[in-house]
């Protein structure tokens, strides 16, 4: 089985009637996801791609037994939307929205922690368990069901890696986009632990970038807890300090958060690191072969 989402996940889409919500509902349905309900306050009774729209999550859960939520609500209203989903105990909750104030994200993550619910994102491409369920905005055609768990802070690099894993016939068990913001729900360590327990996952591809110390923490965690082969790519070796590189979380502050520090920590933990994203699939194949997996 994959992690976090599978063919039993019943997905609710918050702000399903917005441009993004409609577009991605269609693509989630196309790859087999059970999108069972949408919520847009004031638009209850409508349908989007055949999916019924409700005014509140409470109604949607009662009528359609939704178990998980994906949020396309604009940043100023995202805190309210996430709290509504957490209160209804939906799990996981994937927050696609970009530009959410960091003080709001902190509150969302803390409220989710208190209610034992998994938050993915914000500012994430979402989750993909190929052939079963997608709660996200990634292109369907580059994924294929397989044995590699992918966990990443970057959207487009996830696509890049997923696509090369598909070409090399390794495929993916689940791909998890953690999100590009400074404060996000799931961290590398949470997802690594899930992949370690998951039977379908034989190897793990980890994609990090400059900023923060999540990769260093992951390295420490891998050294102690992960037996499956892990390979990593860290973006931003050439990034100058103090400049935000596109993602709000991708910034070197002072001397901390550099790619070099992350790469060193990972190497020490026995993780093979690729110099370029294109080398990751090959590294992984070598590792799997040497372990006869």
């Amino acid at each position: 089985m994959p992690i976090l989402i599978d063919d039993r996940t019943r997905v609710l889409v918050q702000n399903i009637t917005g441009r993004q919500g409609m577009f991605h509902t269609l693509h989630m349905l196309e790859c087999g996801t059970k999108v069972v309900a949408g919520v847009t306050p004031g638009k209850g009774g409508q349908k989007v791609e055949g999916v019924p729209v409700f005014d509140s999550i409470e109604e949607a859960v009662k009528m359609k037994k939704a178990t998980a939520s994906i949020i396309f609500v604009p940043a100023p209203f995202a805190l309210d939307a996430a709290f509504e989903a957490i209160t209804a105990n939906l799990d996981p909750i994937v927050i696609i929205t970009e530009h959410i104030p960091v003080h709001d994200s902190i509150k969302i993550v803390e409220y989710a922690r208190q209610n034992d619910v998994h938050i993915v994102g914000p500012n994430t491409p979402g989750l993909m368990s190929p052939g079963m369920c997608k709660m996200g905005i990634m292109p369907n055609h580059i994924f294929s069901c397989g044995k590699i768990g992918v966990v990443s802070r970057s959207g487009t690099l996830t696509y890049e890696i997923a696509s090369s894993l598909t070409q090399s016939r390794l495929g993916q068990s689940t791909a998890v986009g953690l999100g590009g913001d400074p404060v996000v729900g799931l961290s590398f360590t949470d997802v690594l632990a899930m992949f370690e327990r998951d039977g379908q996952t034989k190897g793990i591809a980890m994609i990090g970038e400059i900023g923060g110390n999540a990769e260093e923490r992951a390295a420490e965690f891998i050294r102690k807890n992960i037996k499956k082969p892990v390979v990593a790519y860290i973006a931003g070796r050439t990034a100058p300090p103090g400049k935000t590189m596109g993602h709000a979380g991708a910034v070197i502050s002072g001397t901390s958060g550099t790619a070099q520090s992350k790469i060193e920590a990972l190497k020490k933990a026995g993780v093979s690191t690729a110099e370029l994203p294109g080398d990751l699939a090959n590294l992984l194949m070598k590792k799997l072969r040497s372990k006869k997996l």
């Binding site: 409220y111 487009t156 590009g180 070796r237 050439t238 709000a248």
Partner: protein
């Protein structure tokens, strides 16, 4: 968004955090209009760090000295930034310096209060060399930061008597500022003790750009941190950071662009910029991106790295063909609608690669 020291101190005053009496001048002649008590301190108002080392701070004993020092400071460029304003404040007799701030802790996913009895120096340095001197207190989002938290910190700092209560008032008010202004950082360094009690000698506030919609009263005009091209790009909705090299880089998605810079470097080139057109980029976005990156002096080639997810390759290709840049292009294109995109580009005579390494190598060779 960083605020100037004088702006941060205006907010401090509103929240009852004591600061020195002072005024802001925009030129030397304005010194005439201000009632200044000597000795006084002149402080250059710039958003970059290290102004003290660059000569941007001066203690003056008389009006004559104030005039000569002010004109010297106004002629400075601190890390390339001209000084447009000077804050003039009363000088104070400092007994001891402390450090106090509220900031976002990314790993704990909480607001953290950082306090230290080693103030007036770089706190990162203190954390590295003498981490026992750092007191960290995590803030519960729902309870907030309460006076009893602050009093405990005061006790741990070694304060006693009335100063415990004074410190608690300053710390809880600084937390209110952090909370109500959506701060990434609200910092007093140093927080000094004097005969008359505590005083915030310096003030630093950084507001989360994503929260500016809630703070309409704060003008977003502070762009001195950015270069001309960075400002143009921001206005066009592109993420753009200027670098030193000769190979311009454009891509969709922050991670992919960072990886593209790394690839340029790996094949012996130097990236000239970081330019992310974002997911769902249109032909117009691409046209603007090409226009901005090729304006930069010394750019000899452009590496376009497009992996179409939500972005459609044919849209991007149309933007490239319409703009028709003078600087040679090396294009990697894959993903949604790649066939259409590649055909458009090939017809217009552009070579297209399907993998990132080849396109990066080619861009580096073209820049030689």
């Amino acid at each position: 968004m960083k605020l100037y020291e004088y702006e941060a101190k205006e907010i401090f005053a509103k929240y009852g955090i004591p600061t020195q009496r002072g005024s802001v001048i925009g030129n030397v002649s304005e010194l005439e209009n201000e009632a200044i008590a000597y000795p006084a301190v002149l402080k250059a108002q710039v958003l970059v760090g290290g102004r003290g080392k660059a000569g941007g701070i001066a203690v003056v004993e008389s009006k004559e000295q104030a005039v000569s020092e002010a004109s010297r400071i106004f002629s400075l460029r601190i890390k390339g930034i001209p000084v447009r304003k000077i804050l003039v404040v009363d000088s104070v007799d400092i007994e001891k310096e402390y450090y106090l701030s509220f900031t976002v802790d990314r790993s704990e996913k909480k607001i953290v209060c950082i306090a230290s009895s080693s103030g007036g120096v770089d706190i990162e340095e203190v954390a590295r060399t003498d981490s026992k001197k750092i007191i960290k207190t995590y803030v519960d989002s729902f309870r907030g930061f309460l006076p009893y938290h602050a009093r405990q910190i005061a006790i741990d700092l070694g304060l006693g008597g009335d100063t415990i209560v004074q410190f608690a008032s300053i710390a809880t008010n600084l937390f209110r500022i952090c909370d109500e202004y959506d701060c990434e950082l609200a910092e007093i360094n140093p927080l000094a003790t004097t005969k008359k009690g505590f005083i915030a000698v310096d003030a630093k506030i950084i507001i989360d750009n994503n929260a500016l919609f809630r703070h309409k009263s704060i003008s977003a005009s502070q762009s001195e941190e950015y270069t001309e091209l960075e400002r143009m790009a921001n206005a066009a909705g592109l993420s753009y950071v200027e670098l030193e090299g000769t190979v311009a880089v454009i891509g969709c998605g922050a991670g992919l662009v960072m990886a593209s810079l790394d690839a340029v470097k790996k094949f012996g080139g130097e990236p000239a910029n970081f330019c992310d057109v974002g997911g769902g980029a249109t032909a117009e976005n691409m046209r603007q991106a090409l226009d901005i990156v090729s304006r930069k002096e010394g750019v000899k080639s452009v590496f376009c790295n497009i992996f179409g997810g939500i972005t459609r390759c044919d849209d991007v290709a149309r933007g490239i063909v319409e703009y028709n840049p003078v600087v040679p292009l090396s294009i990697r294109m894959m993903g949604t609608n790649e066939k259409e995109g590649i055909e458009l580009l090939r017809k217009a005579g552009y070579p297209v690669f399907d993998n990132m390494n080849d396109a990066a190598r080619n861009a580096v060779e073209m820049a030689r």
